[in-house]
C-alpha cells in the first residue's frame, strides 16, 4: 500500500471494504513523491509536442511580455481549480490546492528547462530575457500536464478523490473543465502558421460548415458516444436542452479561448476582421474537441 491512511467513519470506501488501514489522516512524503513522479510524467507527455515546435521557441521572445505574464497568472488560477477537481494528489483545502499548483508549476518549469537544455536550445549563450521567455511559455502546457497526471496514472479511489469528483459535477465545474480543455488544445495548435494558412484556404461556406462540425463534435462526444467516464444526462433533460445548456456554451467557451490565445500570440493586432474570425473558427475546432474531452478526461 502507498502508506496513506484514512479515517474510519461513514466513508464510502469503508463500506466498499477497500481494506486500507484506517486511523489518522496522514499523507507521507513518499505518497507525495509518487504524486510528483506522476506529475513529471504528465508534464512530459503534455508538453513534448510543444517543446518540439519551432514557433514556440521563437514565441518565447517575440511574445509581448505583459501578455505572457497575464497568461502565466491565468494558468496558475486554472491549475488551482484543476487541483480542486482532481490534481496529482488528493486535496481538501484551497490552501493545499494553491500549494499543489505551485508544485505543478515547479514540475512544469523544471521539465521544460531540462528538455530545452537537452535539445541544445537553451545554454549559456542564451540571453536572460530569452531564457525566461522560452521557459515561461513552455511551462504553461507542462504544468497543465503535471496537474492532470493523477487521473491518468493514479491507483484506486479514495474519499478525497470522490469529494473532488463531487466538486466537478456542478454546472460551473463542467463549464470550467470545458474552458481548461479548450485552452489546452487550442494552445497546442495556435503557435504555428498553419492556423492562418488554413483560414486563408477556407471560404465562407467552409467556415460555416466547420462551425457546424465543431458543434456536432462537441455535442456527440459527450452525450452520444459511449466513452469511459461518460455521464448520464441529468433527469428530465432532452436533447434540445442539452444542446442549449451545454453544447452552445461549450462552443462559446471554445471561441473565447481561441480569441484569447490568438490575442496573446499577437495575431489579432493589425489583422482584418475576416482574418481574425477565420482564425477563430479554425482554432475553435480543436478547442471544441478539447472542451468535449476535458469533461471525460479530467
Amino acid at each position: 500500500m502507498s502508506g496513506r491512511t484514512y479515517q474510519v467513519g461513514l466513508s464510502l470506501s469503508a463500506l466498499r471494504g477497500y481494506g486500507s488501514p484506517m486511523n489518522s489522516l496522514a499523507i507521507t512524503n513518499r505518497a507525495y513523491a509518487s504524486g510528483l513522479a506522476r506529475a513529471f510524467g504528465g508534464a512530459i507527455i503534455f508538453g513534448l509536442p510543444l517543446l518540439m515546435t519551432m514557433e514556440m521557441w521563437m514565441l518565447g521572445l517575440s511574445i509581448h511580455p505583459l501578455r505572457l505574464a497575464l497568461f502565466m497568472l491565468l494558468n496558475f488560477v486554472v491549475l488551482v481549480i484543476l487541483s480542486r477537481f482532481g490534481g496529482f494528489e488528493p486535496t481538501s483545502t484551497i490552501g493545499e490546492d494553491v500549494l499543489d499548483a505551485f508544485g505543478a508549476y515547479a514540475v512544469g518549469i523544471v521539465t521544460a528547462a531540462l528538455i530545452l537544455a537537452l535539445f541544445g536550445l537553451l545554454g549559456f549563450h542564451t540571453t536572460r530575457a530569452e531564457f525566461a521567455g522560452m521557459i515561461a511559455v513552455q511551462a504553461i502546457p507542462t504544468s497543465f500536464g503535471a496537474m492532470l497526471a493523477r487521473k491518468q496514472f493514479a491507483d484506486g479511489e479514495s474519499e478525497k478523490e470522490e469529494e473532488q469528483m463531487e466538486r466537478s459535477a456542478g454546472y460551473a465545474g463542467q463549464l470550467f473543465l470545458m474552458l481548461a480543455g479548450a485552452m489546452f488544445l487550442a494552445f497546442n495548435v495556435a503557435p504555428t502558421e498553419e492556423i492562418i494558412l488554413i483560414g486563408f484556404k477556407m471560404s465562407a461556406w467552409h467556415d460555416l460548415a466547420l462551425i457546424a462540425a465543431s458543434l456536432l463534435v462537441l455535442h456527440a462526444l459527450v452525450y452520444a458516444v459511449g466513452f469511459a467516464g461518460q455521464e448520464l444526462a441529468p433527469d428530465g433533460h432532452r436533447t434540445a436542452r442539452l444542446f442549449l445548456g451545454f453544447t452552445c456554451p461549450g462552443y462559446a467557451i471554445a471561441m473565447l479561448a481561441s480569441f484569447y490565445i490568438l490575442w496573446t500570440f499577437g495575431r489579432v493586432e493589425g489583422a482584418p476582421l475576416e482574418a481574425v474570425l477565420g482564425c477563430m473558427v479554425v482554432l475553435g475546432f480543436p478547442a471544441s474537441v478539447g472542451a468535449a474531452i476535458a469533461r471525460l478526461v479530467v
Binding site: 479515517q7 467513519g9 461513514l10 466513508s11 464510502l12 489518522s24 489522516l25 496522514a26 499523507i27 507521507t28 512524503n29 505518497a31 507525495y32 513523491a33 510528483l36 521563437m58 521572445l61 517575440s62 509581448h64 511580455p65 505583459l66 505572457l68 505574464a69 502565466m72 496558475f76 481538501s92 493545499e96 494553491v98 500549494l99 499543489d100 499548483a101 505551485f102 508544485g103 505543478a104 508549476y105 515547479a106 514540475v107 518549469i109 523544471v110 549563450h125 542564451t126 540571453t127 536572460r128 530575457a129 530569452e130 531564457f131 525566461a132 521567455g133 521557459i135 515561461a136 511551462a139 474519499e159 470522490e162 469529494e163 463531487e166
Partner: protein
C-alpha cells in the same frame, strides 16, 4: 452517494509538498520578474544594432568559408537577417556572398558562414548586415 463524516482532522502537509511549492514560488517569481523587467524596459521596439565580426577564412572542399558572428547590441529582435560578404581587391568587388540568420535575439549573438569560390589570398573580406524583418 458518498457519505462524509463531517469535519476531518486536518492532516499534516508533507515536507516534500512545501519544498515543491516553495521551488515553484521561487521559479515563478524569478520568471515573472525577468519578464516584468522586459515589459518595463519596453525596448523591443528599437531597431536592432547589428555588427558582424569575420573570422579566419578556411578552405572547405572546393570552396572557401569565412565564419562570422553577428552581434545584436540593442533591444530589438531581428528575424531573417541578411548578411553580405564581399571579397574586395582595393576598390574592385571580386565576389559577393549572402547568408541569412533566421533569428537574432536582443543582446544576443548568432554565428554563420560566408562561402566563396575564389582563393582569398591577397584579398580583403568586408561583411555587413543588409536587412531584417521584425518578428
Amino acid at each position: 452517494m458518498p457519505l462524509f463524516t463531517g469535519r476531518k482532522k486536518s492532516q499534516q502537509t508533507p515536507a516534500l509538498e512545501w519544498v515543491a511549492a516553495g521551488t515553484g514560488v521561487v521559479f515563478l517569481v524569478g520568471l515573472l520578474s525577468v519578464i516584468g523587467a522586459e515589459a518595463l524596459a519596453g525596448g523591443t521596439h528599437e531597431p536592432p544594432a547589428i555588427s558582424i565580426k569575420v573570422g579566419e577564412m578556411t578552405r572547405a572542399g572546393a570552396t572557401w568559408v569565412a565564419p562570422f558572428e553577428a552581434v545584436n547590441a540593442s533591444g530589438g529582435t531581428a528575424v531573417a537577417l541578411q548578411v553580405e560578404g564581399k571579397l574586395v581587391d582595393g576598390d574592385v568587388d571580386v565576389e559577393t556572398s549572402l547568408a541569412t540568420i533566421d533569428y537574432l535575439s536582443a543582446h544576443g549573438a548568432a554565428e554563420g558562414g560566408l562561402i566563396f569560390s575564389q582563393d582569398p589570398k591577397g584579398l580583403k573580406i568586408v561583411a555587413r548586415p543588409l536587412g531584417y524583418q521584425t518578428p
